[in-house]
Symmetry: D2
């Protein structure tokens, strides 16, 4: 039972008819539906409390009390990364170090909270060709892979290719194969401070990726995995 906040830039859906056709209520609402589960795939353990927040709300929908009470934050952004205030980026980073889980989606690789926590450029290669992607489970024992088959297939997607300029993941869960000839480390686990971070590649705004049952299962698993545990004291400073 985690408190989940889904953050979405929520610009494409309001500016572009093609995107609105795919995500009429915004990507955040589709993700929220997926986290809630559905009848054919409902899992008792996923009864999370789910909120959404978007860029153009006051404080981007992430005032201190929201972040303070968030166990796991999902982040989707693309064209307006630099409109997120430094104060909110600071606070997200701080909350992750304190234990909040962070799940970064697709073009969120360039989001400032993610770049801040990685310490690298988070650059990659890409091609918007609408070709097939297959995400292979390279770590079948990982809880984020619970209930999946050997791979996830997405018929149409944007390609992301290596090199992906991130620190070596603590744990690599998925590697993508792309029809056009590239590969990508598509599911990367990190811990920073007491917080768990999961980068998950799928999710372009012009394809209904977040309606895919396997993608939804991954997001539910990732929320369970990223939720904070109790831990021991993080006490710093001068000792007697």
């Amino acid at each position: 039972m985690a408190n989940v906040t889904i953050w979405n830039e929520y610009r494409h859906e309001r500016e572009d008819d093609d995107v609105a056709a795919v995500y009429p209520d915004g990507i955040h609402e589709t993700i929220a539906d997926g986290l809630a589960g559905d009848e054919t795939d409902r899992d008792e353990s996923h009864g999370h409390d789910i909120r959404t927040a978007t860029l153009d709300e006051p404080t981007h929908g992430l005032p201190d009390d929201v972040l303070e009470s968030t166990d796991v934050l999902l982040w989707w952004g693309h064209e307006a990364h630099d409109e997120v205030s430094e104060a909110v980026v600071d606070r997200v980073q701080q909350r992750v170090l304190e234990g909040m889980g962070l799940i970064v989606l697709h073009s969120g690789h360039y989001a400032n909270p993610f770049k801040r926590l990685m310490g690298t450029s988070c650059s990659l290669q890409y091609r918007e060709d609408g070709a097939t992607e297959r995400l292979w489970v390279v770590d079948p024992g990982h809880p984020i892979a619970d209930g999946l088959g050997e791979s996830i297939e997405l018929q149409q997607t944007e390609m992301y290719g290596e090199p992906f300029d991130v620190p070596e993941p603590d744990r690599l869960v998925f590697v993508s194969w792309f029809e056009g000839g590239e590969v990508f480390r598509s599911g990367c686990c990190y811990r920073r401070g007491s917080g768990r971070i999961f980068y998950f590649r799928p999710g372009h705004e012009t394809y209904p990726i977040y309606e895919n049952a396997d993608v939804r299962r991954v997001l539910r698993n990732a929320v369970d995995w990223a939720a904070p545990t109790e831990g021991a004291p993080r006490t710093f400073g001068e000792r007697e």
Copy 2:
């Protein structure tokens, strides 16, 4: 709710009066008591089904059906590592790769299942001096540290010193300080196949280490951490 099997060599306790005075029913029974919890420290989430097994039982108490139905195996051994049959070592290794958790205690660093899974000598330095050990939590966000303070203090213990010839841990949770001047990586997490492995240093047979409340808490946390998750298929061999 995991099925836990505590394996103990159970020789010292029957051969040596000093050890019998500390662990009259065997180290395994004291560990079992600790896993069950006690009134001042009971935690609802620790309602595991606990069995014990010892070296001198038939098949060392670990016939196939026991291993098959074990979620987490704890292992304490010291003077008779080589009396454990190759068949049982093989089967323990296989079960870990399939997902069974393995918690290796103290002198179990030289147990054949552990050496097999590590691929190294697992050698270390030691001195049986009964001096103080302090285990520092170096990873306060790890679930194995849940509910601990900043360190665990053991008044009298055998010293283990570096170098410890194991692969770099996936995650280092504890580092020990010893009164005599040494340090040791005392809590080391690994994954092999789908199985989680935790090596935990404390536990000499002549000191009542497994009655220490913090040590018991670590073992309970470690059982929760090491329990298998569902995962994805581990399918190997020829593809069409």
Copy 3:
């Protein structure tokens, strides 16, 4: 200037005309040629002392004095892994822990020295379809990638697919894309004891993989990377 020993099972080449056509003097000789470099690609720093050894020589060509004086051992085997004596497997493992580098090639994923050092099954999926493989450099800063382009392309090869049951690599250098739809972690770095281990996937016996200039470059780089450094004492046992 490392002392390099190239070990080859050397059975396919003597039993199968198709293999003999590709590797008339044995895979080991072709690898040796590649390590020596050639005129268009010669690098002053690769002046290693190169020996070969094969399964059917006495002690498999690896008596103690050869292993003792080997800095980096390359290993190619396929159909006769279990004919390698336990004594030689033990000694190779021991030498790696002491600092000898080990480069394991292709079907050597099932070689006993590699399985021994990994502690896992080292299983994978495969398909002998002679289709195209592209190895992407996912870690451009790694010395094993020195002088490569963004990927290596092999026109015809056997496919290896995930999951690959090995411990999470310390460092992942290559990920392969296969024409048939699979991916594979094709270049995996490990340290065990003081020794460096590199698993490199390419190398089927019916394709002239070891004549490829990029593959040869990787092997030369890997030898440089795996050569032992001086280090500090590995002292184990009782301390005063």
Copy 4:
């Protein structure tokens, strides 16, 4: 033969007589002497080209052409971390991602280039008590440990204690034991982008730590380890 730049805040030495007594020409000059080697300990392979730079020089002594031509940068700072301009911090980070080595010393754990690259708070505990520290080599096979004994002893030093809020190191080389009862991960290796980073704990300004022969050896080894290799292209952006 690396181009080495030693950066020092160089304030304590000019402001405080006690510090000036230990490091009359500045910590950077003492480190430079150590890198150059001395007669009893000279090693032919350490013929680096060494420069120094300090905070109060224009552009902190690190204009673009200096950073551009630096292979390995050492960094000592303490009381004026926030006086380093964002532009220089940005450029140091960028250069590390491109391959420049970075060696961060002692109180440099709070330097902005290090925090930027780690993505964490880099906080720790400390006590300035002038007691003994013993740095144990926990990874005897690491090149940074070349030529050391099993530990390094410093008679008087400031204590740093866990938890140390950094990402799990790629490789942990040293763990410190402190007379007062604490431990610390004192030698931590990271890679970020194509650059190698080494954090090394010893170095308080009121003790002649950088005159210690073992500390000097570690710094020389670390420079060799951190020097860039050739690598493969880091090409990002849109693909055809």
